[in-house]
Protein backbone atom coordinates (compact mmCIF):
# COMPACT_ATOMS: atom_id res chain seq x y z
CA UNK A 1 0.00 0.00 0.00
CA UNK A 2 1.90 3.09 -1.19
CA UNK A 3 0.95 5.85 1.22
CA UNK A 4 3.26 8.75 2.04
CA UNK A 5 5.15 8.32 5.31
CA UNK A 6 5.03 12.06 6.00
CA UNK A 7 1.28 12.16 5.45
CA UNK A 8 0.73 9.39 8.01
CA UNK A 9 3.06 11.06 10.50
CA UNK A 10 1.31 14.39 9.96
CA UNK A 11 -2.14 12.86 10.36
CA UNK A 12 -1.00 11.04 13.47
CA UNK A 13 0.28 14.31 14.91
CA UNK A 14 -2.89 16.22 13.99
CA UNK A 15 -5.20 13.60 15.48
CA UNK A 16 -2.90 13.29 18.51
CA UNK A 17 -3.10 17.06 18.93
CA UNK A 18 -6.91 17.01 18.89
CA UNK A 19 -6.99 14.05 21.26
CA UNK A 20 -4.59 15.85 23.60
CA UNK A 21 -6.88 18.90 23.71
CA UNK A 22 -9.94 16.82 24.55
CA UNK A 23 -8.22 14.12 26.57
CA UNK A 24 -9.55 11.35 24.34
CA UNK A 25 -7.70 8.60 22.52
CA UNK A 26 -8.38 9.77 18.99
CA UNK A 27 -8.87 6.30 17.49
CA UNK A 28 -12.35 7.26 16.38
CA UNK A 29 -10.85 10.01 14.20
CA UNK A 30 -7.73 8.21 12.98
CA UNK A 31 -9.40 5.01 11.78
CA UNK A 32 -11.85 6.80 9.44
CA UNK A 33 -9.03 9.00 8.12
CA UNK A 34 -6.98 5.91 7.30
CA UNK A 35 -9.99 4.40 5.54
CA UNK A 36 -10.50 7.59 3.50
CA UNK A 37 -6.81 7.41 2.51
CA UNK A 38 -7.54 4.08 0.87
CA UNK A 39 -6.12 1.76 3.49
CA UNK A 40 -8.38 -1.31 3.69
CA UNK A 41 -10.80 -0.93 6.64
CA UNK A 42 -9.59 -4.22 8.16
CA UNK A 43 -5.97 -3.02 8.26
CA UNK A 44 -6.94 0.46 9.46
CA UNK A 45 -8.96 -0.90 12.38
CA UNK A 46 -6.43 -3.51 13.45
CA UNK A 47 -3.42 -1.21 13.15
CA UNK A 48 -5.02 1.73 14.87
CA UNK A 49 -5.43 -0.43 17.98
CA UNK A 50 -1.62 -0.37 18.37
CA UNK A 51 -1.71 3.42 18.47
CA UNK A 52 -4.49 3.33 21.07
CA UNK A 53 -2.39 1.01 23.25
CA UNK A 54 0.52 3.45 23.12
CA UNK A 55 -1.47 6.61 23.88
CA UNK A 56 -3.49 4.94 26.66
CA UNK A 57 -0.35 3.55 28.28
CA UNK A 58 0.95 7.09 28.62
CA UNK A 59 -2.19 8.29 30.37
CA UNK A 60 -2.51 5.19 32.60
CA UNK A 61 1.06 5.61 33.85
CA UNK A 62 0.28 9.23 34.63
CA UNK A 63 -2.93 8.22 36.43
CA UNK A 64 -1.14 5.59 38.52
CA UNK A 65 1.40 8.15 39.67
CA UNK A 66 -1.37 10.57 40.63
CA UNK A 67 -3.28 7.67 42.25
CA UNK A 68 -6.23 8.56 40.01
CA UNK A 69 -7.28 5.00 39.31
CA UNK A 70 -10.00 2.80 40.79
CA UNK A 71 -8.36 -0.63 40.52
CA UNK A 72 -11.45 -2.62 41.47
CA UNK A 73 -13.75 -0.82 39.04
CA UNK A 74 -10.98 -1.02 36.43
CA UNK A 75 -10.61 -4.78 36.92
CA UNK A 76 -14.34 -5.38 36.38
CA UNK A 77 -14.34 -3.16 33.29
CA UNK A 78 -11.32 -5.06 31.96
CA UNK A 79 -12.92 -8.47 32.54
CA UNK A 80 -16.05 -7.43 30.63
CA UNK A 81 -13.90 -5.71 28.02
CA UNK A 82 -11.89 -8.89 27.31
CA UNK A 83 -15.04 -10.85 26.53
CA UNK A 84 -16.38 -7.97 24.44
CA UNK A 85 -13.07 -7.67 22.53
CA UNK A 86 -12.95 -11.38 21.77
CA UNK A 87 -16.55 -11.24 20.50
CA UNK A 88 -15.70 -8.14 18.45
CA UNK A 89 -12.66 -9.75 16.77
CA UNK A 90 -14.67 -12.89 16.10
CA UNK A 91 -17.49 -10.86 14.57
CA UNK A 92 -14.91 -8.90 12.54
CA UNK A 93 -13.52 -12.16 11.08
CA UNK A 94 -17.01 -13.53 10.38
CA UNK A 95 -18.10 -10.33 8.61
CA UNK A 96 -14.88 -10.38 6.61
CA UNK A 97 -15.52 -13.94 5.47
CA UNK A 98 -19.04 -13.00 4.45
CA UNK A 99 -17.70 -10.05 2.43
CA UNK A 100 -19.65 -7.53 4.53
CA UNK A 101 -16.90 -6.19 6.82
CA UNK A 102 -16.62 -2.83 5.06
CA UNK A 103 -20.36 -2.38 5.25
CA UNK A 104 -20.46 -3.25 8.98
CA UNK A 105 -17.66 -0.78 9.75
CA UNK A 106 -19.16 2.02 7.67
CA UNK A 107 -22.68 1.59 9.10
CA UNK A 108 -21.34 1.50 12.67
CA UNK A 109 -19.34 4.67 12.11
CA UNK A 110 -22.27 6.49 10.56
CA UNK A 111 -24.49 5.58 13.53
CA UNK A 112 -21.87 6.32 16.18
CA UNK A 113 -20.74 9.60 14.67
CA UNK A 114 -24.14 11.05 13.97
CA UNK A 115 -25.42 10.12 17.44
CA UNK A 116 -22.37 11.31 19.40
CA UNK A 117 -21.85 14.32 17.10
CA UNK A 118 -25.42 15.59 17.42
CA UNK A 119 -25.44 15.03 21.21
CA UNK A 120 -22.25 17.06 21.52
CA UNK A 121 -23.52 19.75 19.18
CA UNK A 122 -26.75 20.04 21.17
CA UNK A 123 -24.79 20.25 24.42
CA UNK A 124 -22.40 22.91 23.18
CA UNK A 125 -25.16 25.03 21.66
CA UNK A 126 -27.09 24.87 24.93
CA UNK A 127 -23.96 25.82 26.85
CA UNK A 128 -23.37 28.72 24.50
CA UNK A 129 -26.98 29.84 24.87
CA UNK A 130 -26.85 29.77 28.66
CA UNK A 131 -23.65 31.74 28.65
CA UNK A 132 -25.25 34.38 26.43
CA UNK A 133 -28.19 34.70 28.82
CA UNK A 134 -25.87 34.68 31.80
CA UNK A 135 -27.71 31.73 33.35
CA UNK A 136 -26.39 28.49 34.80
CA UNK A 137 -23.81 26.98 32.50
CA UNK A 138 -24.56 23.35 33.09
CA UNK A 139 -27.67 21.45 33.94
CA UNK A 140 -26.86 18.67 36.37
CA UNK A 141 -29.03 15.99 37.79
CA UNK A 142 -29.93 16.41 41.44
CA UNK A 143 -27.93 14.40 43.97
CA UNK A 144 -29.43 11.06 44.97
CA UNK A 145 -31.30 10.74 41.70
CA UNK A 146 -30.02 7.44 40.26
CA UNK A 147 -31.07 5.45 37.27
CA UNK A 148 -33.06 2.40 38.48
CA UNK A 149 -30.75 -0.21 36.89
CA UNK A 150 -27.93 0.85 39.20
CA UNK A 151 -29.90 -0.84 41.99
CA UNK A 152 -30.08 -4.21 40.28
CA UNK A 153 -28.80 -7.31 42.15
CA UNK A 154 -25.10 -8.20 42.52
CA UNK A 155 -24.33 -4.86 44.07
CA UNK A 156 -20.72 -4.13 44.80
CA UNK A 157 -18.88 -1.47 46.72
CA UNK A 158 -16.18 0.59 45.01
CA UNK A 159 -14.48 2.63 47.72
CA UNK A 160 -12.21 4.64 45.49
CA UNK A 161 -15.13 5.77 43.31
CA UNK A 162 -17.52 6.12 46.26
CA UNK A 163 -19.98 3.81 44.52
CA UNK A 164 -22.36 1.07 45.65
CA UNK A 165 -23.97 -0.23 42.46
CA UNK A 166 -24.94 -3.40 40.65
CA UNK A 167 -22.11 -4.84 38.53
CA UNK A 168 -24.54 -5.81 35.75
CA UNK A 169 -24.70 -2.38 34.04
CA UNK A 170 -20.94 -1.95 34.49
CA UNK A 171 -20.19 -5.28 32.83
CA UNK A 172 -22.73 -4.46 30.12
CA UNK A 173 -20.97 -1.16 29.38
CA UNK A 174 -17.56 -2.82 29.27
CA UNK A 175 -18.81 -5.61 26.99
CA UNK A 176 -20.16 -3.03 24.57
CA UNK A 177 -16.98 -0.95 24.63
CA UNK A 178 -14.77 -4.01 24.10
CA UNK A 179 -16.93 -5.14 21.20
CA UNK A 180 -17.14 -1.73 19.53
CA UNK A 181 -13.44 -1.12 20.13
CA UNK A 182 -12.31 -4.32 18.44
CA UNK A 183 -14.74 -3.88 15.56
CA UNK A 184 -14.14 -0.21 14.86
CA UNK A 185 -10.56 0.43 15.95
CA UNK A 186 -11.51 2.84 18.70
CA UNK A 187 -10.56 2.83 22.35
CA UNK A 188 -14.00 3.99 23.35
CA UNK A 189 -12.86 6.66 25.79
CA UNK A 190 -15.34 9.12 24.36
CA UNK A 191 -18.15 6.74 25.35
CA UNK A 192 -16.77 5.33 28.63
CA UNK A 193 -15.85 8.67 30.17
CA UNK A 194 -19.30 10.30 29.84
CA UNK A 195 -20.98 7.02 30.87
CA UNK A 196 -18.94 6.67 34.06
CA UNK A 197 -19.24 10.37 34.81
CA UNK A 198 -22.93 10.99 34.20
CA UNK A 199 -24.56 7.55 34.56
CA UNK A 200 -22.51 5.96 37.35
CA UNK A 201 -21.44 9.25 38.98
CA UNK A 202 -17.82 8.17 39.33
CA UNK A 203 -15.79 11.10 40.68
CA UNK A 204 -14.03 13.14 38.00
CA UNK A 205 -10.63 12.49 39.58
CA UNK A 206 -10.66 8.74 38.84
CA UNK A 207 -12.79 8.62 35.67
CA UNK A 208 -10.12 9.21 33.03
CA UNK A 209 -7.47 7.01 34.68
CA UNK A 210 -9.90 4.12 35.15
CA UNK A 211 -11.30 4.28 31.64
CA UNK A 212 -7.80 4.51 30.15
CA UNK A 213 -6.78 1.48 32.23
CA UNK A 214 -9.66 -0.50 30.74
CA UNK A 215 -8.85 0.73 27.23
CA UNK A 216 -5.18 -0.21 27.43
CA UNK A 217 -6.00 -3.77 28.58
CA UNK A 218 -8.84 -4.52 26.15
CA UNK A 219 -7.12 -2.91 23.17
CA UNK A 220 -3.97 -4.90 23.90
CA UNK A 221 -6.02 -8.10 23.67
CA UNK A 222 -7.81 -6.86 20.55
CA UNK A 223 -4.47 -6.01 18.91
CA UNK A 224 -3.02 -9.49 19.49
CA UNK A 225 -6.26 -11.21 18.43
CA UNK A 226 -6.37 -9.10 15.25
CA UNK A 227 -2.80 -10.12 14.44
CA UNK A 228 -3.50 -13.82 15.03
CA UNK A 229 -7.01 -14.20 13.62
CA UNK A 230 -7.13 -11.61 10.85
CA UNK A 231 -3.44 -10.87 10.15
CA UNK A 232 -4.46 -7.32 9.50
CA UNK A 233 -1.92 -5.48 11.68
CA UNK A 234 0.60 -3.41 9.72
CA UNK A 235 3.68 -3.03 11.87
CA UNK A 236 5.26 -0.14 9.96
CA UNK A 237 2.01 1.83 9.79
CA UNK A 238 1.50 1.22 13.53
CA UNK A 239 4.90 2.70 14.41
CA UNK A 240 4.28 5.77 12.24
CA UNK A 241 0.88 6.32 13.88
CA UNK A 242 2.34 5.90 17.36
CA UNK A 243 5.18 8.34 16.79
CA UNK A 244 2.92 10.96 15.22
CA UNK A 245 0.25 10.48 17.87
CA UNK A 246 2.55 10.58 20.91
CA UNK A 247 4.04 13.96 20.03
CA UNK A 248 0.79 15.46 18.78
CA UNK A 249 -1.00 14.49 21.98
CA UNK A 250 1.61 16.14 24.20
CA UNK A 251 1.42 19.44 22.36
CA UNK A 252 -2.36 19.17 22.22
CA UNK A 253 -2.54 18.69 25.97
CA UNK A 254 -0.37 21.76 26.52
CA UNK A 255 -2.43 23.87 24.13
CA UNK A 256 -5.68 22.55 25.56
CA UNK A 257 -5.12 24.33 28.84
CA UNK A 258 -5.07 27.73 27.13
CA UNK A 259 -7.98 27.26 24.76
CA UNK A 260 -11.69 27.77 25.17
CA UNK A 261 -13.05 24.27 25.73
CA UNK A 262 -16.61 24.90 24.60
CA UNK A 263 -15.52 26.33 21.27
CA UNK A 264 -13.40 23.25 20.63
CA UNK A 265 -16.21 20.95 21.73
CA UNK A 266 -18.42 22.65 19.16
CA UNK A 267 -15.77 22.17 16.47
CA UNK A 268 -15.29 18.54 17.41
CA UNK A 269 -19.03 17.95 17.16
CA UNK A 270 -19.04 19.47 13.66
CA UNK A 271 -16.04 17.31 12.76
CA UNK A 272 -17.79 14.15 13.95
CA UNK A 273 -20.95 14.97 12.04
CA UNK A 274 -18.92 15.71 8.91
CA UNK A 275 -17.07 12.38 9.09
CA UNK A 276 -20.35 10.56 9.75
CA UNK A 277 -21.93 12.29 6.77
CA UNK A 278 -18.98 11.44 4.56
CA UNK A 279 -19.35 7.76 5.46
CA UNK A 280 -23.11 7.94 4.94
CA UNK A 281 -22.70 9.34 1.43
CA UNK A 282 -20.42 6.43 0.57
CA UNK A 283 -23.24 4.04 1.45
CA UNK A 284 -25.95 5.88 -0.48
CA UNK A 285 -24.16 7.01 -3.61
CA UNK A 286 -24.05 4.73 -6.60
CA UNK A 287 -20.51 3.32 -6.80
CA UNK A 288 -18.46 3.94 -9.95
CA UNK A 289 -17.48 0.29 -9.99
CA UNK A 290 -20.13 -1.92 -8.35
CA UNK A 291 -17.82 -4.95 -8.49
CA UNK A 292 -14.92 -5.60 -6.17
CA UNK A 293 -12.29 -8.33 -5.97
CA UNK A 294 -11.21 -9.99 -2.74
CA UNK A 295 -8.10 -12.15 -2.72
CA UNK A 296 -8.75 -15.24 -0.62
CA UNK A 297 -5.42 -16.90 -1.22
CA UNK A 298 -2.30 -16.51 -3.36
CA UNK A 299 -0.34 -19.58 -4.33
CA UNK A 300 3.23 -18.61 -5.05
Amino acid sequence: MPVSVLLILGMGAAVGFISGIFGIGGGFLMTPLLIFLGIPPAVAVATQSAQIVASSTTSVLGAIRRNALDRKLGAILVAGGFVGSALGVWFFAAARRAGQLDLVIVISYVTLFTVVGSLMLKESIREFWHRRKGGAVRLRRKAGEHAPYLGWPLRMRFYRSKLYVSVIPIVGLSLFIGFAGALLGIGGGFIVVPALLYVFRVPTTVVVGTSQFQIVCTTLVALILHAVMNQAVDFVLAILLIIGGVFGAQFGARMGRHLRAELFRFLLAILLLAVGLRFGLELIMQPDEPFSITVQETRT
Partner: protein
Protein backbone atom coordinates in the same frame (compact mmCIF):
# COMPACT_ATOMS: atom_id res chain seq x y z
CA UNK B 1 23.75 -25.70 -9.38
CA UNK B 2 21.42 -22.83 -10.29
CA UNK B 3 23.47 -22.00 -13.38
CA UNK B 4 23.12 -25.59 -14.54
CA UNK B 5 19.38 -25.34 -13.93
CA UNK B 6 19.04 -22.23 -16.03
CA UNK B 7 21.07 -23.85 -18.79
CA UNK B 8 18.74 -26.85 -18.72
CA UNK B 9 15.72 -24.55 -18.89
CA UNK B 10 17.24 -22.79 -21.89
CA UNK B 11 17.87 -26.09 -23.67
CA UNK B 12 14.52 -27.43 -22.66
CA UNK B 13 12.63 -24.57 -24.22
CA UNK B 14 13.43 -25.83 -27.67
CA UNK B 15 10.33 -27.51 -28.98
CA UNK B 16 9.61 -28.86 -32.37
CA UNK B 17 6.30 -29.47 -34.08
CA UNK B 18 6.76 -30.64 -37.60
CA UNK B 19 8.94 -28.54 -39.75
CA UNK B 20 9.53 -25.45 -37.58
CA UNK B 21 11.41 -25.33 -34.33
CA UNK B 22 10.87 -22.52 -31.87
CA UNK B 23 13.67 -21.43 -29.57
CA UNK B 24 12.94 -18.90 -26.86
CA UNK B 25 14.90 -17.32 -24.06
CA UNK B 26 14.10 -14.85 -21.30
CA UNK B 27 16.36 -11.97 -20.32
CA UNK B 28 15.91 -12.92 -16.70
CA UNK B 29 14.67 -15.98 -14.82
CA UNK B 30 14.65 -14.40 -11.42
CA UNK B 31 13.49 -10.87 -10.72
CA UNK B 32 14.37 -9.47 -7.31
CA UNK B 33 12.17 -6.65 -6.13
CA UNK B 34 12.63 -4.48 -3.07
CA UNK B 35 10.45 -1.88 -1.38
CA UNK B 36 11.14 0.93 -3.87
CA UNK B 37 10.41 -1.28 -6.88
CA UNK B 38 8.26 0.52 -9.43
CA UNK B 39 7.83 -2.17 -12.06
CA UNK B 40 10.12 -3.68 -14.64
CA UNK B 41 10.29 -5.25 -18.10
CA UNK B 42 11.34 -8.76 -18.97
CA UNK B 43 12.47 -9.42 -22.52
CA UNK B 44 11.63 -12.59 -24.43
CA UNK B 45 13.80 -13.46 -27.40
CA UNK B 46 12.87 -16.11 -29.92
CA UNK B 47 14.13 -17.65 -33.11
CA UNK B 48 12.33 -19.85 -35.62
CA UNK B 49 14.36 -22.56 -37.29
CA UNK B 50 13.24 -24.40 -40.37
CA UNK B 51 14.67 -27.80 -41.26
CA UNK B 52 16.17 -28.36 -44.69
CA UNK B 53 13.06 -29.86 -46.31
CA UNK B 54 10.69 -27.01 -45.40
CA UNK B 55 10.22 -24.16 -47.81
CA UNK B 56 9.68 -20.62 -46.62
CA UNK B 57 6.04 -19.78 -45.96
CA UNK B 58 4.56 -17.05 -48.06
CA UNK B 59 2.47 -15.53 -45.29
CA UNK B 60 5.20 -15.13 -42.69
CA UNK B 61 5.03 -16.02 -39.01
CA UNK B 62 3.02 -14.71 -36.12
CA UNK B 63 3.86 -15.04 -32.44
CA UNK B 64 1.68 -14.81 -29.36
CA UNK B 65 3.29 -14.58 -25.91
CA UNK B 66 1.01 -15.39 -22.95
CA UNK B 67 2.32 -14.71 -19.43
CA UNK B 68 0.46 -16.15 -16.42
CA UNK B 69 1.34 -15.03 -12.92
CA UNK B 70 0.89 -16.95 -9.66
CA UNK B 71 -2.53 -18.46 -9.08
CA UNK B 72 -5.01 -16.75 -6.79
CA UNK B 73 -8.31 -17.70 -5.25
CA UNK B 74 -10.50 -14.65 -5.82
CA UNK B 75 -14.03 -13.71 -4.94
CA UNK B 76 -15.75 -11.04 -7.01
CA UNK B 77 -18.71 -9.35 -5.34
CA UNK B 78 -21.31 -7.04 -6.77
CA UNK B 79 -22.78 -4.14 -4.85
CA UNK B 80 -26.45 -3.66 -5.47
CA UNK B 81 -28.93 -1.23 -3.94
CA UNK B 82 -30.88 -2.57 -0.98
CA UNK B 83 -33.32 0.14 -0.01
CA UNK B 84 -31.29 3.36 0.16
CA UNK B 85 -27.85 1.76 0.58
CA UNK B 86 -25.48 -0.13 -1.68
CA UNK B 87 -24.48 -3.49 -0.32
CA UNK B 88 -22.46 -6.50 -1.53
CA UNK B 89 -24.92 -9.14 -2.67
CA UNK B 90 -24.14 -11.49 -5.56
CA UNK B 91 -20.74 -13.12 -5.63
CA UNK B 92 -18.75 -15.43 -7.86
CA UNK B 93 -15.70 -17.44 -6.80
CA UNK B 94 -12.67 -17.85 -9.06
CA UNK B 95 -10.78 -20.75 -7.46
CA UNK B 96 -7.59 -20.55 -9.51
CA UNK B 97 -6.93 -17.59 -11.76
CA UNK B 98 -3.62 -15.89 -12.61
CA UNK B 99 -2.89 -12.81 -10.53
CA UNK B 100 -1.16 -11.41 -13.59
CA UNK B 101 -2.01 -12.14 -17.20
CA UNK B 102 -0.66 -10.57 -20.34
CA UNK B 103 -1.00 -11.47 -23.97
CA UNK B 104 1.49 -9.94 -26.40
CA UNK B 105 1.23 -10.58 -30.12
CA UNK B 106 2.77 -9.53 -33.39
CA UNK B 107 -0.58 -8.60 -34.97
CA UNK B 108 -4.15 -8.34 -33.77
CA UNK B 109 -5.33 -11.77 -32.60
CA UNK B 110 -8.28 -11.75 -34.98
CA UNK B 111 -5.87 -11.52 -37.91
CA UNK B 112 -3.57 -14.23 -36.58
CA UNK B 113 -6.06 -17.03 -36.21
CA UNK B 114 -9.72 -17.99 -36.18
CA UNK B 115 -12.15 -17.41 -33.35
CA UNK B 116 -12.70 -21.16 -32.73
CA UNK B 117 -8.99 -21.86 -32.45
CA UNK B 118 -8.54 -18.93 -30.08
CA UNK B 119 -11.27 -20.23 -27.84
CA UNK B 120 -9.99 -23.82 -27.92
CA UNK B 121 -6.33 -22.97 -27.44
CA UNK B 122 -7.01 -20.04 -25.04
CA UNK B 123 -5.25 -17.45 -27.13
CA UNK B 124 -6.05 -13.92 -25.98
CA UNK B 125 -7.47 -12.46 -22.77
CA UNK B 126 -11.10 -12.81 -23.83
CA UNK B 127 -10.63 -16.50 -24.57
CA UNK B 128 -8.84 -17.14 -21.27
CA UNK B 129 -11.34 -15.20 -19.16
CA UNK B 130 -14.38 -16.80 -20.78
CA UNK B 131 -12.91 -20.34 -20.73
CA UNK B 132 -14.81 -22.94 -18.70
CA UNK B 133 -11.89 -23.58 -16.32
CA UNK B 134 -11.73 -19.91 -15.29
CA UNK B 135 -14.77 -20.12 -13.04
CA UNK B 136 -17.90 -22.24 -12.89
CA UNK B 137 -20.74 -21.54 -15.30
CA UNK B 138 -23.99 -20.42 -13.78
CA UNK B 139 -26.14 -20.18 -16.87
CA UNK B 140 -24.92 -16.75 -17.95
CA UNK B 141 -24.99 -15.24 -14.44
CA UNK B 142 -21.21 -15.66 -14.29
CA UNK B 143 -20.63 -13.45 -17.33
CA UNK B 144 -20.78 -10.01 -15.63
CA UNK B 145 -18.41 -11.31 -12.94
CA UNK B 146 -15.88 -12.51 -15.51
CA UNK B 147 -16.11 -9.15 -17.25
CA UNK B 148 -15.75 -7.29 -13.94
CA UNK B 149 -12.66 -9.30 -13.01
CA UNK B 150 -11.12 -8.55 -16.41
CA UNK B 151 -12.05 -4.85 -16.17
CA UNK B 152 -10.71 -4.32 -12.63
CA UNK B 153 -7.53 -6.29 -13.28
CA UNK B 154 -6.98 -4.33 -16.50
CA UNK B 155 -7.36 -1.04 -14.60
CA UNK B 156 -4.72 -2.22 -12.15
CA UNK B 157 -2.42 -3.02 -15.08
CA UNK B 158 -2.38 -6.69 -14.16
CA UNK B 159 -4.34 -8.01 -17.15
CA UNK B 160 -3.26 -6.60 -20.48
CA UNK B 161 -3.25 -7.35 -24.15
CA UNK B 162 -0.86 -5.72 -26.62
CA UNK B 163 -1.18 -6.54 -30.27
CA UNK B 164 2.12 -4.82 -31.02
CA UNK B 165 3.92 -6.41 -28.10
CA UNK B 166 5.95 -8.79 -30.26
CA UNK B 167 8.35 -7.34 -32.84
CA UNK B 168 10.06 -9.31 -35.55
CA UNK B 169 13.68 -8.23 -35.91
CA UNK B 170 14.18 -10.42 -38.98
CA UNK B 171 11.56 -12.71 -40.58
CA UNK B 172 12.48 -15.44 -38.06
CA UNK B 173 13.83 -13.66 -35.02
CA UNK B 174 11.50 -11.80 -32.67
CA UNK B 175 11.48 -10.12 -29.33
CA UNK B 176 8.80 -9.10 -26.81
CA UNK B 177 8.84 -7.09 -23.59
CA UNK B 178 6.70 -8.30 -20.70
CA UNK B 179 5.67 -5.31 -18.57
CA UNK B 180 5.48 -6.12 -14.86
CA UNK B 181 3.78 -3.40 -12.78
CA UNK B 182 4.75 -2.75 -9.16
CA UNK B 183 1.53 -4.45 -8.04
CA UNK B 184 2.47 -7.78 -9.66
CA UNK B 185 2.62 -10.30 -6.80
CA UNK B 186 5.71 -12.41 -6.16
CA UNK B 187 5.70 -16.00 -7.37
CA UNK B 188 6.14 -18.09 -10.45
CA UNK B 189 5.28 -16.67 -13.89
CA UNK B 190 4.76 -18.98 -16.87
CA UNK B 191 5.67 -17.62 -20.29
CA UNK B 192 4.02 -19.46 -23.14
CA UNK B 193 5.17 -18.61 -26.66
CA UNK B 194 3.00 -19.85 -29.53
CA UNK B 195 4.11 -19.73 -33.15
CA UNK B 196 1.48 -19.35 -35.89
CA UNK B 197 1.60 -19.34 -39.63
CA UNK B 198 -1.47 -19.08 -41.81
CA UNK B 199 -3.85 -19.34 -38.79
CA UNK B 200 -2.35 -22.69 -37.67
CA UNK B 201 -0.24 -23.36 -34.56
CA UNK B 202 3.19 -24.60 -35.58
CA UNK B 203 5.06 -24.76 -32.29
CA UNK B 204 4.79 -23.79 -28.66
CA UNK B 205 7.30 -23.38 -25.83
CA UNK B 206 6.76 -22.82 -22.13
CA UNK B 207 9.36 -21.28 -19.90
CA UNK B 208 9.10 -19.37 -16.66
CA UNK B 209 10.58 -16.75 -14.38
CA UNK B 210 10.22 -16.02 -10.72
CA UNK B 211 9.39 -12.74 -9.02
CA UNK B 212 11.01 -12.66 -5.60
CA UNK B 213 10.39 -10.00 -2.99
CA UNK B 214 13.34 -9.09 -0.84
CA UNK B 215 13.99 -6.53 1.82
CA UNK B 216 12.46 -5.40 5.06
CA UNK B 217 8.79 -5.26 4.01
CA UNK B 218 8.76 -8.82 2.74
CA UNK B 219 10.40 -10.12 5.90
CA UNK B 220 7.85 -8.30 8.04
CA UNK B 221 5.07 -9.75 5.88
CA UNK B 222 6.47 -13.27 6.27
CA UNK B 223 6.62 -12.92 10.06
CA UNK B 224 3.04 -11.58 10.15
CA UNK B 225 1.85 -14.65 8.23
CA UNK B 226 3.89 -17.42 9.78
CA UNK B 227 4.42 -16.14 13.33
CA UNK B 228 1.22 -14.19 13.81
CA UNK B 229 1.14 -14.55 17.62
CA UNK B 230 4.74 -13.40 17.97
CA UNK B 231 4.05 -10.55 15.53
CA UNK B 232 1.00 -9.41 17.48
CA UNK B 233 2.78 -9.58 20.83
CA UNK B 234 5.82 -7.77 19.42
CA UNK B 235 3.63 -4.95 18.06
CA UNK B 236 1.88 -4.73 21.44
CA UNK B 237 5.19 -4.59 23.31
CA UNK B 238 6.46 -1.83 21.04
CA UNK B 239 3.22 0.13 21.53
CA UNK B 240 3.55 -0.24 25.32
CA UNK B 241 7.18 0.81 25.13
CA UNK B 242 6.37 3.98 23.18
CA UNK B 243 3.57 4.80 25.60
CA UNK B 244 5.94 4.38 28.54
CA UNK B 245 8.62 6.42 26.78
CA UNK B 246 6.19 9.28 26.10
CA UNK B 247 5.17 9.24 29.76
CA UNK B 248 8.82 9.42 30.76
CA UNK B 249 9.73 12.22 28.38
CA UNK B 250 6.66 14.41 28.84
CA UNK B 251 6.15 13.90 32.56
CA UNK B 252 4.28 16.93 33.79
CA UNK B 253 4.57 16.60 37.55
Amino acid sequence: MRAVGILLILLGTMASAGAETLITSLSNHRVLINSNYTGTLIAVFGAIERDAQTVARGTGYDVVVTVRGPRQFLTVREREPLGPIWINQEQQKFPSVPAYLSVLSSRSLAEITSDQLRQRQKIGLNAIVSASDFTNHRGGADKPFREALYRIKAQEGLYLEDERGVTFLTPDIFRASIPLPATAPPGNYDVEVTLFADTVILARTITNFELVKTGFEEQVGAVARDWSLFYGVATAVIALFFGWLANLIFRRD
